[in-house]
Structures are given as C-alpha cells and as structure tokens.
Symmetry: C2
Subunit: 249 residues, 2 copies
C-alpha cells in the first residue's frame, strides 16, 4: 500500500508583507474585517492596488489556489482511505501540515479566516487536536527529505506530455511517494528542485490551473495499473499479466 504525500510547493500564501502594510487598500480591508492589517492573508483580489511595491507582484496573494487544492485532496478516495496526506509549502518556506480527517470550510472567506487563525495560533483548532499545523523556515527540500520518500514526482509543464498511467503505475509498488505540484499561477518554481532527486512529469505545454493538475494526478493514481495499456503489454511480454480487478474501472 502506497502512502502518498502531495506537496503544494512555493504556493502564494503569506501574511501582508511589512512593506505594504500601510497602503490604503490594505488598511480599508483590515478595518472592514476588524483585524490588524499584519494579521491578514495577502489577497491579490482585495489588495491589488497595493501590489506595485511588491516584487513578483503578478503571482503573489493567491490563497484561493491553496483552498481549491486542499478541497480536492481532502474529499479524494485516497485521502478517505488514509493514503494521502497534503502539505502546503509557501514562498516564505512556511509549511502547513493537513491531517487527512480535516474538514475545511468550502466557503473561501471562512477558509481565509481559518488560515489567518493558524498563523496566529500555529495549530488549529487546538494543540490537542492539531488538524492544521504551521511550521516556519522549512525549505522544500527539508520537507521532502523528512518524508523519506522512495520516489519524488514533480508536475511541471513541458512540450512533451508524459504518459500519465505509465508514470504512475510503478509508483503504486512503492511505500512512500511525494508528488510536488506548483502552487502558483504564473512563472516557475522558486525552490531549488536540484536539491533532491526527482522525476519530472508533464501534462503538456499548457500551464494548467492547479486544480486541474491536482485532479489529473488523483485520477492517474486511480487508473494506473488497473487498465493496462497495450503498449506496456507489447514491450514486457514475459511478465505475467495481473488479473483485472473487479473494482471501478
């Protein structure tokens, strides 16, 4: 049985950076929400007028991507079978560990409020019941190595599509597999991926939305190995064929 670890890497989740904490759009939003501005999550939609001063402004402030990613992970069959744990790694090397039994609010403003509480309290809802836990200063390679994976997959766009079922089928014989998905809408990974051995998997040249990448991986894990491809049979004639499983697909 494979244990899967999905990491949303370099995701654009952060509190309002100090350099823009006194900008008008930030102060207005803080007043409307009844919170101190430095305790708010940066949000491109609410705070865009203040972004001019920020480097990388075209990609920052996207808690919505994290939200979508987690909603898909948490309701997946894999997660409900206890075989998937999701982590959010951010541009500032914060890491949020999400217990598989966590129920997250599907309502975006509530999700934002929850993550803001997490940044204040370090764990939510409580230390005894740490469904979400925040650690700082955990570079991607430290998180990856701590998970002791047998294999590491990085989803990344490239001209040539990787045959997905072929890429995922052999992983189902491994014990611990890390899957890394970029948590940003533009540009490339900021973390140095050369610090760990990994296999690149491409869904093609199009920069797909993070939610599309996430469900394509979930589905590839579901279907890989269950519906053997003709190509695989042709190139490996000596291996005994597994009996088809009776379950879905």
């Amino acid at each position: 049985m494979t244990q899967w670890f999905f990491i949303l890497a370099d995701s654009e989740l952060e509190l309002i950076p100090k350099e823009i904490v006194n900008e008008r759009s930030i102060l207005n939003n803080a007043r409307a929400r009844g919170k101190a501005p430095e305790k708010l999550l940066l949000d491109a939609s609410h705070h865009h007028p203040a972004f001019a001063r920020l480097p990388d402004s075209e990609r920052r402030g996207r808690p919505d991507i994290v939200h979508f990613f987690l909603m898909l992970c948490i309701d997946s069959d894999l997660s409900l079978e206890g075989k998937l744990q999701a982590f959010v790694h951010t541009r500032n090397n914060d890491v949020i560990a999400v217990k598989p039994e966590t129920r997250l609010p599907p309502h975006y403003p509530r999700f934002v409020g929850l993550i803001e509480s997490l940044y204040e309290q370090r764990v939510v809802p409580s230390r005894e019941n740490a469904l979400l836990e925040l650690r700082n200063e955990v570079p991607l390679e430290v998180l990856v190595k701590a998970l002791k994976p047998d294999d590491i997959i990085v989803l990344t766009p490239a001209e040539e599509k990787t045959p997905l079922l072929e890429a995922f089928a052999p992983l189902k014989d491994k014990e611990r597999v890390v899957v890394i998905i970029g948590g940003f809408s533009k540009g490339d990974f900021r973390s140095d991926l050369s610090k760990f051995n990994h296999t690149k998997v491409s869904l093609g040249p199009r920069l797909m939305k993070v939610w599309t990448v996430t469900y394509k991986v979930l589905s590839a894990i579901q279907y890989a190995g269950k519906a053997p491809e003709a190509k695989v049979k042709a190139t490996e004639p000596s291996k005994p064929r597994r009996a088809p499983k009776k379950k879905e697909a």
Copy 2:
C-alpha cells in the same frame, strides 16, 4: 466527435428570498457590501442566522459549489477543445449558460459579484459578448430536451458503483451527451428525473463533493476507450480492437 453538455442540476444558487430579506444578518451583509439586500446571492456562510425561516435551509445558499464546478469545467481539456459546454440549473429553474471561452474569477467574492451582476443584467459582460446568460423558468427537463442529446447520464450515489470507463466508453461514439450532476450538498434531486430517459451512473454509496464528482466524470471521459479493459475484450471477441491512441494515457 462527441459534444458534451454538463448540467449542474438543482444547484443551490438564488437571490435572497423575499421572506428573509429584512433579517438582521442579511441587512448587515447588504450594508457592508453596498448593495440592496434583494440583489445579493443567498450564502449559507454569511446569512445562516436568517435561515431558520427557510424551508430546506440545510442545503440552500451554496454558490461555492457552482463556483468549483465551473472552475473545473472551464479549465478542462474538453472545454478548451470546444467539446464541453457547462450549464447551471438552479432550485428555482433559473438556467445559466456558460460559453466555453469564459474566464471566471477564481476569487470567490468576485465570482459572487459577477453572478449578482448577471441576475441584474441577464447577460455578462454585455449582450454583444454574452459569456454568461441567464434564463428564468426553465425546468431541468426543458433544458435537457432543448440540447437534443443522444444520451443522458445522471450521476447519483448508489450502493453499487458503476464501472465508469465501461459506462463512458460507448458514449464517445455519440454526437451529443448530457451529463447531469446534482448541485447540492445534501438530499436528492428536486427536479423530476422521470421526465426524460436517462442512465444512472453511481460513484458508490458515499455522497461525494460536487467537485469530486465533476473531476471523476472528466477523467472517465478522458480514459474511457483509451485503455480497454480486459472484461470488455472477453465479452466482445468479434469486434476489431482499436489501435491504442498515442496521446496521454
């Protein structure tokens, strides 16, 4: 080439109903948003204190489900190839037609604002460029029949799982296929499904989130027929086998 029509049916999307338009939580929210209360979308998260007076209160006010559904549809390969059109049908028999080239805001509050504009203007962004279009008093069966489908699939939970690839493979030879997904988090379809012939497809007994159902259907369409199952070969030995396609999976 199959044209797919995904309908989110009986979805819990509606303006604030008259009977609760003067409740305090509604008026406060309207003031904060600078809009007349009757022009706001009902939202279980913001307006729950006012829900006691509403029948079916445990399921109403879920624009977030519609948002997730559309975000998944619009970024899908099928949609980008022009083979998928999404419709939102609501509990009040409003129907929103969504052009495949529409870009929707991933930020939930902006999405809500857009749908509120749609309820005011009937089309957005403009009549000349009707990316979203609203019609009233279109019962589900009227919408379904207007699409002139060769086949109609209804996703519904049931004790026994339908083998998904087997169910979708023959549909890929049809010209027009309607797929109906319930747009609610609790309970059952309110529309009378007996008014049109349809095939029930079940993902199992668990009431999955709408986004999970949506991506499972998208993936089943992708994989069906590409990776033929052993079972299908055994029972139909006389049919010539299709050459495996070279594309992903």
